[in-house]
């Protein structure tokens, strides 16, 4: 099996041990290799293209997944293991790995977007995070924070999509960068609205462009850890970045649902992900499938996903299981009852449209569109229509 994340390997190794203990008659031998992110996806692409050298199982990151669905997918459909459990799973998180009604990948997590506030800074400015309901409230609170403390309310990514995509996906209905039926949608108000709002936030200095361009840059971790911004909205899985890279904020961060554009609209969206797939060239497809179902679809597996990886697991029926209330490094950092937020927004987690055009669209935004709008302050509609012309 191939993966691109050391933590995933630890998880799979542990699950293989549990599987062998539970199924002594069907023991498996699992070898997990960890490669760098780009390296692994490129190797896998070439191996599947040429038909030799691919592993039985592979972790494929969401942004790369559509590449593997082009042409005839060289992955096997997983419907027979997904369908029995489908009522317990967050379905929008299965559709992103599907083509023509076949599911090809199983995710670790829902990736619900939430907002992380630095309570210490908000307190100084006298802002109560629970009063922030809409993005307009958020902007007003940001002004207060800026005036009182001189610290920007947040940071906006210029080389990645994590700050823009949730705001776009939050819009009611199924459209985001693309319409539900796969048409390019970037010139619509669903996309231009959030961008105009973000541009405005930068102009008024309530937000600054993220140092290093994105929320995974060393420069950002350092700045945020030192109290450089009052909040950030990122998916649930970002918790691990706080615990590992921003230790000084321990006990100061509160997690809340994201603000909305209009009251009553969805407060979250499922972001990012890793689909685990079984390859067509695998000689042990059945064993691989049963193990995958055990590791990522079973109740037991989903509880371990939270315990070991700190992800919001795919099965919504485990979110209120007692195991999820047990203390671990995340509850130490963020306080108990982290999942209450998730159960609150359970029915409001918007899906995203992912298909073969996704890699090209996200490249255009990451390299040019957001930079031109947020850093060079160009006209939003003009930039978007130029990008749309080039993408067509």
């Amino acid at each position: 099996m191939w993966t691109f994340n050391e933590l995933h390997k630890t998880f799979y190794d542990d699950m293989a041990k549990r599987w062998n203990a539970a199924n002594p008659e069907k023991k498996i031998q699992l070898t997990v290799n960890v490669y760098p992110y780009d390296d692994m996806h490129n190797k896998l692409l070439v191996a599947l293209q040429s038909g030799t050298g691919a592993p039985d199982l592979a972790d494929i990151e969401l942004n790369k997944f559509p590449n593997f669905l082009k042409g005839e997918p060289q992955l096997i459909p997983l419907n027979d293991i997904v369908e029995p459990e489908i009522s317990n799973l967050v379905k929008s998180r299965l559709d992103i790995y599907a083509k023509d009604g076949q599911y090809y990948g199983i995710d670790f997590h829902v990736g619900a977007a939430v907002i992380y506030y630095n309570k210490e800074i908000l307190d100084k400015a006298g802002v109560n995070p629970d009063d922030i309901v809409t993005w307009a409230d958020y902007e007003a609170a940001g002004k207060k924070v800026l005036d009182a403390t001189g610290v920007p309310m947040t940071t906006l990514e210029t080389s990645d999509l994590w700050t823009l995509w949730p705001q776009v996906a939050q819009a009611p209905g199924k459209d985001d960068f693309q319409t539900a039926d796969g048409q390019l949608n970037i010139t619509s108000p669903i996309v231009s609205g959030p961008l105009k709002w973000q541009q405005n936030l930068i102009k008024s200095k309530i937000a600054i462009p993220t140092p290093g361009g994105n929320h995974h840059a060393e420069e950002y971790y350092g700045m945020m850890n030192g109290g450089g911004a009052a909040s950030v909205w990122m998916p649930m899985w970002y918790m691990g970045r706080f615990t590992d890279y921003m230790p000084d904020l321990k006990g100061k961060i509160v997690i809340k649902p994201m603000p909305v554009w209009n009251p009553g609209e969805p407060r979250s969206a499922g972001m990012g992900g890793t689909g685990t797939a079984v390859t067509k060239t695998s000689k042990n497809q059945d064993a691989a499938k049963s193990f995958l179902a055990y590791a990522k679809l079973s109740k037991e597996g989903n509880i371990e996903i939270w315990k070991q990886l700190g992800f919001d697991p795919l099965r919504s029926d485990v979110w209120d299981a007692p195991e999820l209330k047990e203390p671990n490094k995340f509850t130490d950092y963020f306080g108990p009852n982290i999942f209450d937020i998730l159960t609150q927004v359970k029915s409001e987690i918007e899906g995203v449209n992912i298909n073969e055009k996704t890699p090209a669209i996200s490249d255009a935004f990451k390299t040019s569109v957001i930079t031109r709008i947020l850093l060079d302050n160009e006209d939003v509609d003009k930039v978007l229509s130029e990008a749309a012309n080039q993408l067509k």
Partner: protein, 313 residues
């Protein structure tokens, strides 16, 4: 019966050996025999991939669905992003040539002179960067060129009276960072080439120049420079190719193939983005072929200008 006797077996063995020595001594075959390992690896790892890339550049390559689509891939290349990549790569090549030819040449002359103190120390320190991995060097440069006030380059900028800069987000500054990284890394290598060239210039020429009363400048411009010409042309040629093929430096400096507004996008970066990141190997191959033709044409023109094709006088 005779053929089974030990004597005839030995005879056959001897024949084989004679055949082999025959090949080794043959004027016609022996040279081919000796270059065979190179020819095989060249054909396997260069000619075959190039031909296959030419073929793929006319195809849409997807698993299980490979089809010929004519010139469509090349038509798709007619877009501002690819143009930007060409311009970036050309600028980068131009600047690196501008610095990485004259500077190492002059340094080589100094480090070759007996009058220079600590010259072995300088030789090794200048060469060490070439031994580091681009990945490590790129990461270190990325942090040194950070946009926060505390980053190395911003500390320097502030101390000499400039504002702190967003180094890797502005076009000119980003190119500066790329060229600086290249210079830091490659000065030592080019220096080595020029030093080797200098060692080959006969001492007698300088001695007779001394007798004729030539000064240092005359010696440099009339003896050293002309006699270094073959080396200079060689360094020029590999630098052009190196410049156009640059990718890792840009990839590491922006921690991925994504620089704001594509200010760090190179031709190979564009190939990587389309061929692998977007799984369009046909288009990627077309980019590769364009790159090959581009460097080929530039190199031919350059060699022509230097008079490499003229017959020896």
């Amino acid at each position: 019966m005779e053929s089974n006797s030990p004597a005839s077996a030995a005879n056959a063995g001897g024949l084989k050996r004679r055949k082999l020595t025959g090949i080794l001594y043959s004027q016609k075959i022996a040279p081919w025999f000796f270059v065979l390992p190179f020819v095989i690896s060249f054909a396997l790892f260069f000619i075959y991939p190039v031909l296959s890339a030419v073929n793929m550049s006319f195809q849409q390559v997807l698993p299980g669905q490979v089809e010929y689509i004519g010139l469509e891939n090349y038509e798709k290349l007619w877009n501002p992003t690819f143009w930007k990549a060409i311009v970036n790569s050309s600028k980068y090549t131009f600047y690196t040539l501008l610095i990485l030819i004259p500077l190492p040449l002059v340094l080589a002359v100094f480090l070759n002179s007996k009058a220079m103190v600590l010259r072995n120390f300088y030789r090794s320190t200048l060469f060490i960067p070439a031994l580091t991995s681009v990945v490590v060097a790129g990461t270190v440069f990325r942090l040194a060129f950070g946009e926060l006030e505390g980053s190395l380059m911003n500390t320097i900028a502030v101390s000499i009276g400039f504002e702190p800069q967003r180094w890797l987000r502005r076009e000119g500054l980003a190119m500066f960072a790329l060229v600086l990284l290249a210079c830091w890394r490659w000065i030592g290598v080019n220096l080595l080439y020029f030093m080797a060239g200098l060692q080959n210039i006969p001492k007698e020429l300088y001695e007779s120049a001394d007798i004729d009363g030539a000064n240092n400048w005359n010696k440099f411009s009339r003896i050293t420079l002309p006699l270094l010409k073959p080396i200079t042309i060689y360094v020029f040629t590999i630098s052009i190719y190196g410049g156009y093929a640059m990718f890792t430096e840009s990839y590491m400096l922006w921690a991925g193939n994504r620089s704001p507004n594509d200010i760090g996008l190179t031709i190979v970066g564009y190939l990587y983005r389309n061929g692998l990141e977007q799984n369009n190997l046909g288009l990627g191959s077309a980019v590769g072929i364009v790159l090959l033709l581009l460097t080929f044409v530039i190199t031919i023109v350059q060699l022509k200008l230097f008079g490499m094709f003229r017959k020896e006088e």
